[in-house]
């Protein structure tokens, strides 16, 4: 797992805007969101792109926070998050522990929706929004679909098995590049 994270660090070494590797908390997530906003306010003049990146950052970080709550074992609460600037766009890399059985559900979801056209994605998003079904955590369940839609399907992932119960799920989202 560390090797894969290191690969990202080396690949985008020159363009890192924000990086974090450690345990999370509500307060930390809030600070990271603020920090990312301050950085983007300084360097990005395209309002749509800036707000799109912020929107995806918020969804990713809050999603990680919600999943963290499920874990009773502190060892599984570590996550990584990187924001890179590349060409005229941005790359977000996040990683967190996910129960092995759930990785297939998430990866199938990404595979399915990232293959859709923008019109199909819009329809799928509206359908999901209309259903109004909440998950037990109070999340909306359509966060991932929103990330896929706003990044035009530029979502990639890697699953690194850790032990018999958990895998580390790494997601790479490209926006505007």
């Amino acid at each position: 797992m560390k090797d894969i994270i290191r690969e990202y660090e080396i690949k985008y070494e020159e363009q890192v805007l924000l990086s974090y590797n450690g345990k999370g908390s509500d307060e930390l997530i809030s600070h990271m969101i603020e920090l990312a906003k301050n950085k983007l306010d300084k360097i990005e003049s395209n309002v749509t792109l800036k707000k799109r990146v912020m929107h995806i950052i918020i969804e990713i970080l809050q999603n990680i926070y919600h999943h963290k709550v499920e874990f009773s074992l502190v060892d599984y609460q570590t996550f990584v998050f990187y924001l890179f600037q590349k060409d005229n766009g941005y790359i977000l890399v996040s990683g967190n522990y996910v129960p092995g059985a759930k990785t297939k559900i998430i990866s199938d979801w990404i595979d399915h929706f990232s293959a859709l056209s923008s019109i199909e994605l819009k329809k799928a998003y509206r359908r999901q929004l209309m259903i109004g079904a909440f998950t037990h955590r109070g999340g909306a369940g359509l966060g991932l679909l929103d990330i896929i839609r706003k990044s035009n399907g530029n979502v990639d992932y890697k699953v690194v098995p850790v032990d018999k119960d958990y895998s580390f799920f790494l997601m790479e989202v490209k926006i505007g590049c």
Partner: protein, 124 residues
């Protein structure tokens, strides 16, 4: 029925609901980690309002950011307004977006598509 007022925070929007004039406004950021905790009292107030509404209800939405769990609650609020609209009350949702914010415009279009209440999209 009392006015419902909440101050804006760095994660939750300013809310000003005035039952007598029927002017209901949500503005700022809506990115709470626990959306249920924030929105449950809002929904409770709307439920009460729907039972005894003003003749005209105007909901103003001026959001800078909102997370997807907030969007589900917005749908829930709009569904309540649908009840009023279907009972022949005047109801209008005014959705505001910044000129260069394509995604906020698109979000307004998403709601307009799925909600059976007139939605007016306004550039700030």
């Amino acid at each position: 029925m009392k006015e419902f007022v909440l101050k804006e925070t760095n994660k939750t929007p300013k809310i000003t609901f005035k039952p007598r004039s029927g002017l209901l406004e949500i503005s700022g950021k809506s990115i709470p980690e626990n959306s249920a905790q924030f929105f449950d009292p809002v929904i409770d107030w709307i439920n009460e309002y729907v039972d005894k509404p003003a003749n005209t209800t105007t909901m103003i939405i001026k959001l800078e950011y909102f997370n997807t769990s907030s969007s589900k609650y917005l749908v829930e609020i709009f569904r309540k307004l649908e009840i009023l609209f279907k009972s022949d009350k005047n109801v209008l949702i005014k959705w505001f977006y910044e000129e260069e914010d394509e995604d906020m415009l698109e979000s307004g279009q998403d709601f307009k598509e799925i909600i059976q209440v007139p939605v007016e999209l306004n550039m700030i």
